[in-house]
Structures are given as C-alpha cells and as structure tokens.
C-alpha cells in the first residue's frame, strides 16, 4: 500500500483504517447493547406491573390438562415440564416418520421425472408443479378437513384385508409386539456393533490392499437377520402382531394414527417430496454422462452402474440441499398446531403458555429447542457428507 502522493514520512492510512474499523465495531456493539438494555428495562417494568417475575419454577407445577395423543404417558397430575416433553416427543415422532416417507416418495418421483416413459415423467412433473406451488398450511388443512373427513365412520371402516382399517377417526394398523428376554440385549448389541465395526474396517483395509470388494453390508445384514430368525425360532424371542379389532363403538388394540397425526404426516410428506424430487433429479443430472459411458465401456451392467457409479456421485451433490429440506420439514412440523396435533408448539407455546402466561420463558425455550434440533440435523448430515466425500490421494 505505498502511494506516491504520500511523500516522505510515515504512511498513517493503515492506522487510520484500523481505528476507523474499531470505531465502527464499537458503535455497532454499543447500539445493539443499548437496544437490548432498552428491551430489558421495558420487560422489567412490564413484568413488575403485572406482578410477574422470570423463572422456570412453573415447569414443575401440575399441568391439570389432558393431551389427546402422546407416546409417553401423561395425566392431568403431571407437570408442565412433562407436558413439554410430550410435545417434543410428538414433534419428533411426526418429523421422523415424515422424513422417511418424504425421502422415499421424493426419490421415486425424482427418478420418475427422468423416465424415458413420457406419461410417467409428465405425471411426476404435474405432481411437482401442483404440490410445491401451494402453501403447506393449505395441504395440511386439506388433508385434515377434506380428505380424512371423507373417510367413512367407524362402523363402516374401510378394511385393508382385515389387517388395517381406515375411518374418519384415524388409521388403525397392526402393532408389532416383540417379547424377548432383554437381560442380555445391551451386551449382545455391543457385541454386534463390535463385529460390524471389525468387518467394516477389515474390509476397508483389504480393499485398499487387494482392490477386491467384500460385500460387507450384505454379510452384516445376513448375520443380524439370521440371529433374529434364530432367536425367534428358538423361542427366546417372539414377534406377534396385535390386530385392531372393532369392539362396540370403536376399535381397540393395534396402532392408532390419530387424524391429526395422519394429516400432518401426509401433508409434510406430500409437500416435501415435491422438493426432494427436484433435488434428486438435479443431482442425478449433475453426474457427468461420461461416467455412465465409462462404466459401460468397462462392462458394468445397468444395476451396477446405477449403484456403484451414478448414485454415489449424485449423493454428494444431493446431501447438502437434502439436509436443508430436512431442516425445513422439521421447522414446518410446527404447523401441526393449526389442526390441533399436540406437537411442541401446540402443547407448550399454546396450552401451557395460555395457562401460565409465561410468554418470555416459554417462547425462548421453544425457540432454543428448534435451534438445537436444527443444529443436530445439520451436524448429522454434515458428518454423513464428510464420510461420503471423495477421498483424493
């Protein structure tokens, strides 16, 4: 940074720039601090006039309300803290199921978009363009208030081979009942994990040295499923299916998806699948055509080209945006509150807030939970992304 016009003597401009920079930063920090202080003072005054004070003691108070659907037990005598937990578990349940289903549907539609069969690819295109240009909330209300309401009442339930039933009070599925002597379960799980890691590492080494591929995934799968079959056959464990049965006015037994949960899962799945389909299509198209041609020249068949050449490369393009889509799905699950599915927002930011009036604490906790969950999803997909990255020598 020498300047002819500066002439003799020291060039003060870097110092001036440094001071200016420090000045800007100090001003920005001071402005933000002043704003926060202003908010804090207002909050203190508002709380004082309402006779409230901040604190999280309310979480251990008795809730005194019921929750329509929960995985973990909840009664009116339980605390607000437990209600929070119920909401969180309900949110995670809906998100987990929807992520799996949306990914599967999204892959199917994304691949159908690339089909050489013209009607199939047009159908997939129609799906994508119809679904993604409508608000998610509209999808949700449609499934809840129109599609599921159109199902017959309980007595005239649609029966799928006597195994599953559809009616306007929900979807009933067979529930797997696994009975096993679980005393040794943690140890056997550890043993299996150790064997799996060993086989995986051994295979990597062998492959690096000899170049021979060992079907490690297949072997591990066979070992695990073989053991499971062995356990079932020997009577140490038993797997039975509990079927839903119509008794009187309603079904008993089986696994019940409430209309709220079903509508939420349908809406999240259908909506996000349209975006995932486009991501899948883009990532497959991003794989260079030459890769396919080279694999063909090497004599690989269609299936192996897809499995060994195209999909691994497509995944590298796909994972970061797919991770974004999962984050979107996670956050969008909060729309559940619009149809009364007892998710985190509905139970905690809705009912608990209304009963306790603790707006500041409850909104902060809710936002913190979503921030943490978002960070976890981002971290998990980043780790996977790193594992799947191209290793260059």
């Amino acid at each position: 940074m020498t300047d002819v016009s500066a002439g003799p003597g020291r060039d003060w401009r870097p110092v001036r720039r440094l001071l200016l920079g420090l000045g800007y930063q100090a001003a920005a920090v001071a402005a933000v601090a002043a704003l926060l202080a202003y908010f804090a003072l207002n909050a203190a005054e508002n709380l004082a006039t309402r006779g409230l004070h901040l604190g999280f003691g309310f979480l251990s108070q008795e809730a005194g309300f019921r929750i329509g659907f929960s995985i973990i037990d909840f009664t009116e005598a339980d605390s607000y803290g437990r209600a929070f937990l119920v909401g969180l578990v309900n949110t995670l349940l809906a998100v987990a199921i929807s992520i799996v289903l949306a990914t599967a549907l999204g892959f199917a539609i994304g691949i159908a978009r690339l089909s050489t069969n013209w009607p199939l690819s047009r159908l997939a295109l129609g799906y994508v363009e119809l679904v993604r240009n409508l608000p998610l909330l509209l999808h949700l209300l449609f499934w809840y208030n129109v599609a599921l309401r159109a199902l017959p009442p309980v007595r005239q339930s649609l029966s799928l081979g006597g195994l599953a039933f559809l009616n306007n009070r929900g979807i009933l599925l067979p529930r797997p009942v696994l009975e096993a002597d679980l005393a040794g379960a943690p140890w056997s799980f550890l043993a299996w994990a150790a064997i799996a890691v060993f086989v995986w590492v051994w295979n990597k080494r062998r492959q690096a040295v000899t170049g021979e591929a060992f079907p490690a995934a297949m072997v591990i799968f066979l070992l695990v499923s073989g053991t499971a079959l062995l356990l079932l056959a020997s009577g140490l464990a038993s797997l039975t299916w509990e079927l839903p049965v119509l008794r009187g006015f309603d079904f008993t037994g089986g696994l019940r998806l409430t209309p709220e949960l079903a509508a939420l899962i349908f809406a999240l799945t259908v909506y996000n699948a349209s975006f995932i389909a486009e991501l899948v299509r883009g990532s497959i198209l991003a794989v260079d055509q030459g890769q396919t041609e080279a694999a063909k020249a090497l004599g690989l068949g269609r299936g192996r080209i897809l499995r060994l050449v195209v999909i691994p490369q497509a995944l590298r393009v796909l994972i970061p945006p797919l991770s974004n889509q999962y984050l979107h799905l996670l956050k969008a699950s909060s729309l559940a509150t619009a149809i009364g599915y007892p998710d985190l927002v509905n139970v905690f930011t809705g009912t608990v807030l209304n009963q306790t009036g603790r707006a500041i604490e409850i909104v902060l906790i809710t936002m913190l939970v979503y921030l943490t969950l978002s960070a976890v999803v981002a971290l998990a997909t980043n780790v996977y992304n790193r594992l799947a990255a191209i290793v260059e020598n």
């Binding site: 006039t49 050489t116 509209l138 930011t349």
Partner: protein, 369 residues
C-alpha cells in the same frame, strides 16, 4: 422401477430435436418401448382418464353456482355458490364495502408495478423499483388505513382475505430487502464484531420455525416494548415476518456478493472509491442482479408462508375460507374454499417461478459464448 425409468442406456441421452422424429417414432420411443413401458403408459392413461372425469364432474358438470346456503347445492358436485357468495370476503375481508375502491386502487397499482418490473423491456426499471420499495408502500398504507386527508379510517382488524395476504406478503418482501442487504453486508464485513453479530442474527432466525417467530412477535414482543403502549396484532406479525424473511434474504444476497469478482473491488479501489461508494455503486447492483432468481424464489416461499398468520388469529385468505366453511349456513364447504384459495396461490406462485426460470435462462444466455 429404477431399472426402467433411469436414463442409463445411451439411447436415453437428451435428444437434440424432437422435430426430427416422426409421430410414429416418437410414440414408439416414449410410450411403447417394451412391455413394461406399454403397461405403464396404459395404466397412467386409465388413471388420467378417471381423474379428469372425476374433476370435470365435481368442478363443472355436477356443480352448483348459485345459492344462499349449503343446502341449495343439490348437484352432488362442488358448491361454488359458497365462493360466489363470499367472494367479497375472500378478497377484502371485513373491509367496509363502500370503501373497497381503495383496496382495488392499491391492488391495481401493485399489479401494474410488478408487471412493469417483470417485463424485460420496460424502461426506467430502477426508478420503478425504487418507487415501489419506498414511496408506494407509504401511499398504499395511507390508502388502506385512511384517517388522514379526509379518508375515512379503516381499522386493521377489519382487513382480511386476499388483501391482507398481499399486505403481509408485500410488507415481508419490501421490508426484508433493506434488512437483508444490511445483514448480508455485515456478514461479509472485515470487522469481526459486526460479522459475528450479523451471522448470529441470521442463524437465529433461520433456525426457528416461522410459527414460533409469530408467537414471539405477538406474545413475547409486547413485554419488551414500552409499558402501556398497545400494539396491534397485524403490526406485530408484520415485524416478525419481516425479520424472519430478512434473515433468509440475507443469505441469498450473500451468495450474490460472493459471486462478484475480486477485480470489481480492486478496480473500484483503484478509482479511489471508499467502502460505501464501492458497495452502493459497483458491488450491490451486480450482486442483486445475479441473485434475482433466488430473490424471486424467496418471495414465493414467503408468499406461501403468509398463510401462517392464521395461527396468530389474523384473517388472511386461507383463514377467511376456513372461517366461512365453519358458518352454519355453509358447513362442510371446506373443499370449495380450499380449491379457490389454492387456485389463487397456485397461479401467483407458478407464474413467479416461471418468471424466475426465464430470468435464469436470460442470465445464462449472457454467459454463453
């Protein structure tokens, strides 16, 4: 499935021209290439036929267009009488009918402005854009709210329907612009404190759902504002949406800033321009132009998200439809209401996304040599 639909074999590489194929060749290649394709084509054709027949019957042939209540709809198909009857509410909410010309005026100006911006050959685009981002929101607000210069006041709790949806959407887009630009510049700043604060602010809003942002704005924010000041629900929701949208827009603009070549900065520096001059005259115009498709996509997502204001009790077009179907006279008219609302959103969102694709193609055309 994957085997038949995945374009692995070389005959499925993108065909350069379809014009060169005869109808017969096109048909055999795209519809009837092998037994699986034939079965698939026939199955989809049958499915499409029944779907089309059901839709035509429901929406037109068996539909009822005129009536004063649900029981007047005896056709067995859609009860469009519901939408026809409530059309005023769907568009204007509870805005007093004699004053609705004000809403019409605002909507017409908005439509004209957006059309002028979207058409590639409009002159003085920058002037129009600046007007739409600065002066016209103020004029629009005055027209809608009234209370000044002889216009009768219309309280915001009477706003609703498509008009409210547009108010929320446009405020979100316009308001998030300056915020997004400031945050994006802050995140790219060389000053660590500013960079850190911007990044923290952006990530905070991007990591939480809009629903909780709306709850924060309407339930928690009043605690942080001066005691005794009553803020109305709409203003609070608009603040929440603007901040949320600003954080997302900031990341889009950051992408554009990163895409401006270093040489541009260096050239500006060589001309003796300072930071603000370089940013305002050289860097930002280029960055923003590069990310027009991203901005439009963002606007589409935001527009769809405006429906969430229903969760904090505002009557946007979706909530008006839901509330209308809960009216005893029209009980069970959910499907018709949703279809109408869906049509409005679909036309706007699909149109915008097509526009953004066209811009992308035009920008790419510049790149091709």
């Amino acid at each position: 499935m994957s085997q038949l639909s995945y374009p692995v074999s070389s005959d499925t590489t993108p065909r350069p021209t379809t014009a060169s194929l005869s109808i017969g060749a096109w048909t055999s290649r795209n519809l009837f290439a092998g037994p699986v394709h034939i079965a698939l084509t026939i199955a989809i054709a049958i499915l499409a036929f029944y779907a089309a027949k059901f839709l035509a019957d429901w929406a037109f042939l068996d539909a009822t267009w005129v009536g004063g209540r649900r029981s007047d709809c005896t056709g067995g198909g859609a009860c469009w009488a519901f939408v026809v009857n409530r059309f005023g509410q769907f568009v204007y909410g509870f805005y007093p009918p004699p004053q609705r010309w004000r809403v019409d005026l605002v909507m017409a100006a908005l439509a004209g402005g957006i059309a002028a911006l979207l058409l590639p050959w409009t002159p003085r685009k920058r002037l129009i854009a600046v007007t739409m981002l600065t002066a016209s929101p103020l004029v629009d607000f005055w027209l809608l709210r009234g209370g000044l210069l002889g216009l009768a006041p219309v309280e915001t709790d009477r706003w609703g329907g498509l008009m409210l949806t547009l108010v929320v959407g446009v405020t979100g887009v316009v308001g998030s612009f300056p915020l997004g630009i400031v945050l994006a510049l802050g995140r790219r700043s060389e000053l660590p404190a500013i960079r850190l604060m911007s990044a923290a602010f952006i990530e905070l809003w991007r990591g939480v759902p809009l629903v909780t942002v709306l709850f924060m704005a309407t339930v928690m924010l009043p605690f942080f504002l001066p005691h005794g000041v009553r803020f109305n629900e709409l203003a609070l929701a608009l603040i929440g949406i603007t901040v949320f949208a600003g954080a997302f827009l900031a990341e889009v603009i950051r992408g554009g800033l990163q895409a401006v070549p270093r040489g541009q900065y260096e050239a500006a520096s060589a001309l003796g321009l300072g930071y603000w001059q370089t940013t305002a005259m050289i860097v930002l115009p280029q960055a923003l132009e590069k990310v027009i498709p991203g901005i439009v996509n963002n606007a589409i997502a935001l527009f769809k998200d405006t429906t969430l204001v229903m969760i904090v009790g505002l009557f946007d077009i979706l909530n008006i439809a839901a509330a209308g179907a809960a009216d005893p006279l029209w009980l069970g008219s959910n499907a018709e209401g949703y279809v109408f609302v869906g049509l409005v959103f679909w036309l706007i969102c699909f149109g915008l996304s097509r526009y953004s694709q066209a811009v992308e193609r035009r920008l790419n055309a510049d790149q091709r040599r």
